[in-house]
């Protein structure tokens, strides 16, 4: 018998904050390590092997420690307040995304009624932080990078929102738990029929949203030297660039898994598979998505800024608009086919 614990609302909040603050950095470290290793093995090399003993598992801890010891440099002509605020404007949303992701049927920090709306809104707040960072650095490369990031995130926000809208229309709810519950279709990618297209659009737009290759012009290291973060150093660099990048990577993988891959549900609704707990399914699906994102990076060269914009406005957005039409017709004329 588990003794019943009653907690006040404040205590519950504190526990939730504690859980989030423990889980997000751990996820980030695991994903960061995975990025090292996956990329290394795709490139015929071993990657980190020494830190920590077993296959270099502690490499990111060592890296973090190194950054901790570095000098924190703020350029003389930078706008100091905006410069340091930008870190928070980027870091905080990256953590807050995790609040509404349902890891299991009841394992969720806060099941908001407008969960998906919140998710998409909060994940684009960091754009403001990037613009702040680029503007306040008093560096031309940073400025170019920030403006590229701004333009790119606006362009790719739309396909993400629109492809999510397709899911919302067919599931009939904005709550993420409801969306997952609605995915009882015995197939991998939901919604049926048009799901694969929506999923591909979502994945591509996510890569752009995460500013990862081949859509990494805002941070392209051989052109504008990590763009908006050129002037950031030490711990500030970790918290404004590296950490949010990996945290967002996992977040988008989780969102993809939730919206399209059935979240915590088994891949096929079979009684036997129901035995495996939901969070295991969720973790597996998220890991698959993370691998997908990591796989893309060493495979492609970088696009150019105008090609990227063309791709968003001329291909992805029309496709998702067409998908919304199809989904609308579906809900209107054959709603029973969904159940």
């Amino acid at each position: 018998m588990i003794p019943e614990i009653t907690l006040t609302a404040w205590q519950i909040l504190l526990v939730k904050i504690g859980v989030i603050l423990a889980i997000v950095p751990t996820m980030t470290l695991v994903a960061g390590y995975a990025e090292h290793k996956v990329m290394a093995h795709l490139q015929h090399r071993l990657g980190p092997m020494y830190p920590g003993g077993f296959h270099g598992w502690a490499v990111l801890l060592a890296d973090g420690l190194k950054f901790l010891y570095k000098e924190d440099i703020i350029p003389e002509r930078a706008d100091r307040r905006v410069f340091s605020l930008a870190t928070f404007a980027i870091f905080v949303p990256a953590v807050m995304v995790y609040l509404v992701i349902p890891v299991d049927r009841s394992l969720i920090v806060e099941d908001l009624d407008v969960g998906i709306f919140y998710l998409l809104a909060i994940s684009s707040v960091s754009t403001i932080g990037i613009l702040m960072a680029g503007w306040s650095s008093a560096n031309k490369y940073a400025l170019i990078g920030a403006l590229r990031a701004g333009a790119q995130l606006i362009a790719y926000e739309l396909p993400i929102v629109l492809s999510a809208a397709v899911v919302v229309m067919l599931s009939g709810s904005l709550s993420l738990v409801d969306i997952v519950e609605a995915q009882n279709w015995p197939f991998l990618i939901w919604p049926p029929g048009i799901g694969l297209i929506a999923f591909l659009v979502f994945t591509m737009a996510s890569v752009a949203e995460l500013t990862r290759p081949p859509f990494d012009m805002p941070v392209a290291e051989s052109e504008i030297i990590t763009g908006a973060f050129t002037e950031y150093s030490g711990m500030r660099f970790i918290f404004s660039f590296f950490f949010p990048e990996v945290a967002n990577l996992v977040a988008f993988a989780a969102i993809g898994a939730t919206l399209f891959l059935g979240g915590y549900q088994p891949i096929v609704p079979l009684g036997v598979l129901e035995v495996i707990p939901g969070f295991v399914w969720f973790t597996l699906k998220t890991a698959f998505m993370v691998f997908l994102f990591l796989w893309i990076r060493p495979t492609f060269p970088r696009l150019r800024e105008d090609q990227l914009q063309k791709f968003a406005w001329k291909v992805l957005i029309p496709v998702t608009l067409a998908l919304i039409l199809v989904a609308g017709a579906w809900v209107l004329y054959a709603p029973e086919a969904l159940r």
């Binding site: 490139q43 090399r45 031309k140 051989s222 052109e223 492609f300 060269p301 800024e305 105008d306 090609q307």
Partner: protein
């Protein structure tokens, strides 16, 4: 993989500043031009090279290369050193192809002093020159990919380089600056196992190159980034004295090894690769194909390797008789020429070093005007220059 003779349709428009100004004024928008300093420390410049770029949004209105950060004054230094010392000095000009830099000096001396170089030494030189060329080309294969954001080719190319690097290390003891040629021959005979290692290296490159080529040349994004970008016209290339893979990418099929064979290059069967369009894609394509040609030469040279001495009859003190001679050789990056003026001393009276990258880079303002910032990186990468080779 064959190259299209003429590509039509879907040409990326070159962004004409005047045209942009027209659009901007029509929309009643004012934009300010911004001067952007690319370098002297910038990852795309492979060293201390500075590009003063005036940009309007993402478009380059003007670009002026500024060089001289690596100037070491070789032309003055060689006047105070004797010929043996110069061997090691000049190999540091283009540090990616050290042994290729040593060659023209010795050819100059052998011409002036009328030294007969034994066959074995000549073949050995060819083997090493071509292996060095492969190393150099693979390096640029790697760096060009990296500049376009493709990180994987870098690691592939470096893995291939290693076997060839090892062969050269066996013979010379060096990995970058070999110092292996001597007037009249080479320093010493190669150790046992050298030929096997060299053959292993070049055969591996030949076997795997297609795969690597597909990784970049066959990639749709790569094509979009490079085709019709940074077009260098044939006549302009001549006018600026552009040579090497960059000139051959513009439809000029000259190669000193074919036109005026030195050493024993006339005995080997190889082709001069050239491509007609003059854009980044063609320059890169030529570079990659040349690796195969070099590998073919190495194979043939090792098969036909004669035995015998490795040094000709050379006086104990190297002292060129008075005279002037210009010797040009095909460096991996283009025509490397030494104009040697000797007054009969043990030192050169004057040694004019004509390096390929110097002429190649001087054409950059011409090519860069009206391009986008992202293309600028692709163009800089496709001009395959080494800073030490520009500044000397």
């Amino acid at each position: 993989m064959a190259i299209d003779q003429q590509r039509v349709g879907d040409r990326t428009p070159v962004h004409d500043p005047a045209e942009i100004a027209k659009i901007v004024s029509g929309a009643n928008l004012e934009t300010e031009q911004m001067v952007l300093n690319v370098g002297p420390q910038h990852p795309a410049t492979h060293g201390v090279f500075r590009l003063l770029a005036t940009i309007d949004g993402e478009v380059l209105v003007d670009a002026q290369p500024i060089i001289g950060y690596m100037h070491r004054g070789y032309e003055k230094l060689v006047e105070a050193r004797d010929y043996r010392q110069i061997t090691n000095l000049v190999s540091r000009m283009d540090w990616l192809s050290g042994i290729n830099n040593e060659l023209p000096l010795h050819l100059c001396l052998e011409k002036l002093m009328e030294i007969e170089v034994p066959e074995r030494a000549q073949y050995m030189r060819v083997v090493m020159l071509e292996m060095n060329r492969i190393l150099n080309h693979l390096m640029f294969f790697a760096s060009f990919g990296a500049e376009l954001g493709a990180i994987t080719p870098t690691f592939f190319a470096f893995r291939e380089r290693e076997d060839i690097q090892l062969a050269l290390e066996m013979a010379t003891g060096g990995r970058m600056h070999f110092g292996f040629f001597r007037p009249g021959g080479i320093r010493e005979d190669v150790p046992r196992g050298f030929f096997a290692q060299a053959l292993k290296g070049v055969r591996q490159v030949m076997a795997r190159l297609d795969q690597y080529e597909d990784l970049l040349v066959g990639n749709e994004i790569f094509k979009q980034r490079t085709i019709d970008v940074g077009v260098l016209d044939k006549e302009i290339a001549y006018n600026y004295g552009v040579s090497g893979p960059i000139a051959r990418g513009s439809g000029i099929d000259f190669d000193v090894r074919k036109d005026e064979p030195y050493l024993v290059y006339d005995r080997f069967d190889f082709e001069v690769q050239s491509a007609p369009n003059g854009d980044c894609f063609d320059r890169f394509w030529v570079l990659v194909r040349e690796v195969v040609e070099s590998a073919k030469i190495v194979e043939q040279a090792i098969e036909a390797m004669p035995s015998g001495p490795i040094m000709g009859k050379v006086p104990r003190v190297i002292q060129a008789p008075a005279g002037e001679v210009y010797v040009r050789t095909e460096n991996p990056l283009g025509e490397l020429g030494f104009y040697l003026i000797s007054d009969g001393d043990r030192r050169p009276y004057r040694l004019k070093i004509r390096t390929p990258s110097y002429n190649n880079v001087s054409v950059l303002p011409h090519v860069l005007k009206g391009q986008m910032v992202a293309d600028m990186i692709a163009i800089l990468g496709s001009f395959f220059f080494v800073l030490g080779d520009i500044d000397r």
